[in-house]
Amino acid sequence: MNSYFVKRLISMLITLWLIITLTFFLMHAIPGSPFTSDKNTNEAVQNNLKSFYHLDEPLYVQYGAYLKSLLTLDLGPSIKQSSFTVNDLIGRGIPVSFELGFWTLLVAVVSGILLGVAAALRHNGIIDYLAMTFAVLGISVPSFVMATLLIQQFAVNWPILPVATWASPKHMILPILALATGPMAIIARLTRSSMIEVLAQDYIRTARAKGLSPVKIVFKHALRNALMPVVTLLGALAASILTGTFVIEKIFAIPGMGKYFVESINQRDYPVIMGTTVFYSVVLIIMLYLVDLAYGIIDPRIKLGKKEG
């Protein structure tokens, strides 16, 4: 296990380095600079600014300097919001995005799995059709449309929930629902199809022959085997939801990470682009590692880093 972990850590670091390198050079390949939009500054000021942020140095020098500062976990200053470092921005945005993401994931996973199981148990029955119609809608309706509909219904027509901002648990309900619908629908469909497959297995018949109750059969014998595809999906899903979602955060005026992602690219705020990318990559890589660990827990036949004898 330890040697597996070391190997895995090395490969994770290599992956991260590749992402950093690619992003760094691609980002600088985009025309324009952080100061292009500042029309009022003259050339001398622009040059001063460039040299202040070391943007006048050759790319490989900048690259080396960036890697060096990364080693000290310093993501650099934000060029556009000059009173903040990138670490500050992430430090402010991430707790909010994580909170939103965590609840969204919880809602999506729990309700998605339950919906999928219910549909599988009533395969080709009315519950199945209802659940799957709901799932198709959930997948095809974008979250921003869902958000608008939810606001219209629960904040305007029937004003029981606040329209926007991130102040109390009550404020979280609408954004969580809007964000969770899509992932929930995907999870429900996956759970349903793999559950139907598992329920047809011989060991489910064995469990029935033992006289076990349907609840035990579904939750002890079937669900665990049916969760594999869902867990696979969960890694990437968790990373993208946890690190903030631009559209939903924008609609509900939530001070999360999402806006930095998008705005930094438009503004060519190089350190912020790099910082958010690095951060997202780290979260993604960790999530994928957790997914692999989860495989081993769910299915004892999968032993990480060990050859089956």
Partner: protein, 332 residues
């Protein structure tokens, strides 16, 4: 002899897009205490459906028990409620399935899979259940059972897994054990060991066994009585001796002739020509008539009634009918 299970005129059908498949069409048999009854027949003759009907494990829909009764401990199993049936499954009647490679849940330790059966039916502590599981594994011949309990199915060989499946089925001391092709998926040496185990366990526990198989070699080794099934009906029943040495139904004879023999020099393998009837619309007469070398006009039209040849040898064949004998006498 005490009868533990009585199946009377059982009919089971499956609704499909093509129509209703009448898989079991009036099966009647008794199971005596402590005996092994083999139900033999080719694929699709309804033997597995019969056994799964006893456990009420027929997937419904599409399958359903149309009529008939299954009497066990003064209860008709076709009529008891599902929760009541769950109390019977695994506790009073248990079942072993064909393929031990897929019959165990790959993500749960074998110990837990045995123990959950015990705890489902008996009020015992976790420690008592564990002890019972260890004893059972020991009984079915698994070495160092205590350590093996913590292992997963993939850490066992096929034969070992079948032993675990058997342990799982027997751990609540059921009165009836239904074994559906228990040795088919195993290689021959392991097959012999498992059959030996069945005999051994029956001696120790007195369990009555229904053995479903198409393998007459297996039947010859363990069965006390044999029921031969064809196209959803039992066509001949008798003791092992009677069936092997005095088969009366042409189908039984055909089956015995189609078994490869090593003891007779130059013995030919004689296949039964043709194929079983379509169970969407089974024939009105004897279903074997189309393949039977002795078929008469009556065979096509009317199903023969049961003829009793001895106290426990019965056959459904016009050749054995009392009236056929009178006719023969008249013709001579």
């Amino acid at each position: 002899m005490k009868k533990v299970l009585q199946v009377n005129d059982l009919h089971v059908s499956f609704r499909t897009y093509g129509g209703e498949v009448k898989a079991v069409r009036g099966v009647t048999f008794d199971l005596n205490k402590g005996e092994t009854l083999a139900i033999v027949g080719e694929s699709g003759c309804g033997k597995s459906v019969t056994s799964q009907s006893i456990m009420r494990l027929i997937p419904n829909p599409p399958g359903r028990i149309v009529s008939g009764s299954i009497l066990f401990k003064d209860k008709d199993l076709t009529k008891v409620s599902e929760p009541e049936m769950r109390k019977i499954r695994g506790a009073d009647i248990s079942m072993i399935f064909q393929d031990p490679m897929t019959a165990l849940n790959p993500t749960i330790t074998v110990g837990e899979q045995i123990i959950e059966g015990i705890r489902q039916h008996k009020k015992v502590t976790a420690a008592e259940a564990k002890n019972a599981a260890v004893d059972m594994l020991d009984l079915v011949g698994i070495p160092s059972p205590e350590a093996r309990l913590k292992q997963y199915p993939h850490q066992f060989s096929g034969g070992m897994r079948q032993r675990i499946v058997i342990a799982m089925a027997l751990v609540c001391q059921p009165e009836v054990l239904i074994a559906d092709e228990p040795t088919t998926a195993l290689d021959v040496t392991i097959q012999a060991q498992i059959l030996e185990l069945f005999r051994d366990i029956q001696e120790k526990t007195g369990v009555s066994i229904i053995l479903i198989t198409h393998d007459l070699g297996v039947v010859a080794q363990v069965a006390d009585r044999i029921a031969v099934m064809y196209a959803g009906k039992i066509v001949e029943t008798g003791s092992r001796r009677e069936i092997f040495y005095n088969p009366q139904h042409p189908y039984t004879r055909g089956l015995l002739r189609s078994v490869p023999r090593l003891d007779i020099e130059g013995a030919d393998l004689v296949p039964i020509g043709g194929s079983p009837p379509d169970l969407f619309s089974p024939p009105a007469g004897c279903p074997f008539a189309a393949r039977c070398e002795y078929a008469m006009d009556v065979c096509d039209r009317v199903y023969p009634s049961e003829t009793r040849l001895s106290s426990n040898h019965q056959v459904d064949c016009w050749l054995q009918d009392e009236r056929a004998k009178k006719l023969m006498a008249a013709m001579n």
